[in-house]
């Protein structure tokens, strides 16, 4: 904002605000730094020291172990594919459904909204859903990770709400210009809703990226396992090693240790963390209204 805006209380507020947010940022990130540090530390160090930000002995053994099985890279590809395609799918389905529902005059609208809200609270559960997926012949197909979660009722309602908030004058103006409904959606509503779309793209993408349970249920073929399933298997080896199996099954090659668990978190998290800064430019204040008017 402009210079004349500055006042003493305003400056005091600014200073404490910057301080507070810096501190908060630090508190938020420190544990993750510990995890990164731990992923480069030796198992012995992790057993000995409770927390640290810099490992005494630096080693990449954990990463070497994880990437020694080349199947990890393939699972990264599966995850990226499911995340990208799945998110596109989510957005198309969510937007096309939210847009008509944002019209207060649409007959049958409330019934449909009630159905959506109801399904958000009541669900059939794991086995009935599995049977549907099986009957649709989606088992062992990556579509099983995409289609059954095509719309989140929660997200749908919020997107619908955002659409409803758009100034009605814009639509009227466009309609006078002879836009069809689809044209209106494509030319006016979507550009105006960029921050919203970016937000829900992020929500959906994170959901896809972190989802392992559907894959565990629906995908038997390890060639199609996403990264999270693979990483869980690696972590589980170390748990199994502590328990019953190690004594019976020495064909366990090398039970991963603490640092591998941490490396697994780093590998599983960093790619999706990078999505947000990339989307952030769509959140810049006022950009949109200006662009529409200009």
């Amino acid at each position: 904002m402009s210079k004349k805006y500055r006042t003493l209380p305003g400056t005091l507020f600014d200073v404490s605000n910057y301080l507070f947010l810096s501190l908060y940022g630090l508190v938020a990130i420190l544990p993750f730094i510990y995890i990164i540090a731990g992923s480069f530390a030796s198992d012995a160090e992790l057993t000995e020291r409770a927390v640290f930000l810099i490992p005494k002995t630096f080693t990449t053994a954990a990463y070497e172990y994880i990437f020694s099985t080349n199947i990890i890279l393939r699972s990264v590809w599966v995850s990226v594919y499911v995340t990208v395609v799945g998110t596109l799918f989510n957005l198309v389905f969510t937007v096309t459904m939210a847009y008509p529902l944002a019209r207060r005059v649409l007959p049958g609208r409330n019934l449909i909204l009630n159905l959506v809200i109801f399904s958000m609270l009541f669900g059939g559960g794991m086995i009935p859903t599995f049977l549907v997926v099986r009957e649709l012949n989606l088992l062992d197909s990556l579509w099983a990770l995409i289609i059954p979660g095509a719309i989140s009722a929660f997200n749908l309602i919020i997107v619908k709400n955002f659409f409803q908030e758009l100034p009605p004058e814009l639509e009227e103006a466009a309609r006078i210009d002879g836009c069809t409904e689809l044209g209106l959606l494509w030319r006016i509503v979507l550009p105006l809703s960029k921050p919203v779309l970016a937000t829900f793209a992020l929500f959906y993408a994170v959901g896809h990226w972190n989802n392992f349970f559907s894959a565990l249920l629906y995908i038997n073929d390890p060639e199609k396992w996403p990264l999270q399933v693979m990483l869980r298997q690696i972590v589980m080896l170390s748990q199994a090693a502590a328990g019953d199996l190690s004594s019976m099954d020495p064909s366990f090659v090398k039970p991963p240790d603490q640092s591998i668990k941490m490396a697994v978190i780093v590998i599983g998290t960093i790619p999706i963390l990078l999505v947000y800064p990339f989307l952030q430019k769509h959140f810049a204040k006022g950009v949109l209204i200006g662009s529409v008017k200009g």
């Binding site: 904002m1 402009s2 004349k4 605000n17 910057y18 507070f20 947010l21 908060y24 940022g25 938020a28 990130i29 544990p31 993750f32 510990y34 995890i35 409770a50 927390v51 389905f93 096309t96 459904m97 847009y99 008509p100 207060r104 449909i112 909204l113 109801f118 399904s119 609270l121 669900g123 059939g124 086995i127 009935p128 289609i147 059954p148 095509a150 009722a153 919020i158 709400n161 955002f162 908030e165 409904e181 689809l182 105006l192 921050p195 919203v196 970016a198 937000t199 994170v206 978190i265 998290t269 963390l273 947000y276 952030q280 769509h282 959140f283 204040k285 950009v287 949109l288 209204i289 200006g290």
Partner: protein, 288 residues
């Protein structure tokens, strides 16, 4: 319009309503092998067992209190943070902080729990060592019933607050800068700008999130609580979710957990509809 609606509607019918027969399992003694039709009908038996459980009152109180604390302390936190971020003028700083505070969302609850332990345990816990040096005493953060709810709230705020701001930042992005300029012309200070321009612009988002939040008042996030629960704080820590899990270990409990889920859903539906009705009464847009 209806053509646009069709794919979404089909999706809800196929993947949400076709499997919906699953809720009927609450009235059966469902055995996977026997299948739906062969399993025995037991009527309201599972509900009877659930409601007559001597611990039911304790579970209800614990569940509701935790939800209430969450609503009071956690729900406003992302809004506040979003407003604070909104006041930042240096774009780079703002983006950096935004990115930093959203990182904890990706750290699994298991890690959060183990960090909580490392910080707070009475055996060389970092925080407790500091307290010990100052006061010569240690605090039973992890086993004392008094500390359980505050700890849950703190964990939740740390983990989800930054993530929660994203949706408000999206709403704030829609605010027309001209409004602020006009307000400055009128001599409004920053507090007044926030109160009269910023907050109203995200009000409907806040309300809708609040209404939707009502739907899971009886869900408390199983994993987080389970990891912090122990026999010494069980009197305040045990909630429906953890209890059903425990029962599930001793008996296959498909039907029982479906029954409890159904109960939670019905309560959720009533609360969502009630909150929506209230919002409408106060002239807000609500869910529809």
């Amino acid at each position: 319009m209806y053509v646009l609606l069709a794919p979404g509607l089909l999706y809800f019918i196929i993947f949400k309503y076709v499997p919906m027969w699953g809720v009927l399992l609450a009235f059966k003694d469902y055995q996977p092998f026997l299948g739906f039709f062969q399993s025995e009908w037991v009527g309201l038996e599972h509900f009877r067992v659930f409601f007559t459980n001597p611990e039911f009152d304790m579970l209800l109180v614990n569940t509701l209190l935790l939800s209430l604390y969450n609503l009071i302390f956690f729900f406003p936190a992302p809004i506040l943070l979003a407003l604070l971020l909104n006041e930042i003028r240096i774009a780079l700083f703002k983006r950096t902080i935004q990115t930093l505070v959203y990182v904890p969302h990706f750290i699994s609850m298991v890690i959060v729990a183990s960090l909580t332990y490392v910080l707070l345990t009475t055996e060389n816990g970092i925080v407790n060592e500091l307290i010990y040096q100052q006061t010569g005493e240690k605090i039973d953060f992890l086993t004392s019933p008094d500390w359980f709810r505050p700890l849950i709230i703190i964990q939740t705020i740390w983990k989800e607050c930054g993530w929660g701001t994203i949706i408000f930042l999206a709403a704030l992005a829609g605010v027309d800068p001209e409004q602020y300029e006009a307000a400055i012309m009128d001599g409004a200070n920053r507090w007044r700008q926030t109160w009269h321009i910023t907050l109203p612009s995200i009000r409907s988002t806040i309300i809708i999130l609040l209404i939707l939040r009502m739907g899971d008042v009886l869900d408390n996030g199983f994993e987080q609580i389970y990891l912090l629960l122990n026999p010494l704080n069980r009197s305040v820590a045990e909630v429906f979710d953890t209890y059903v899990y425990m029962v599930g270990i001793t008996q296959g409990a498909f039907s029982y957990s479906t029954a409890v889920g159904l109960f939670k859903s019905i309560v959720g539906l009533i609360l969502v509809m009630g909150a929506n009705w209230l919002a409408k009464r106060f002239g807000q847009s609500g869910l529809y």
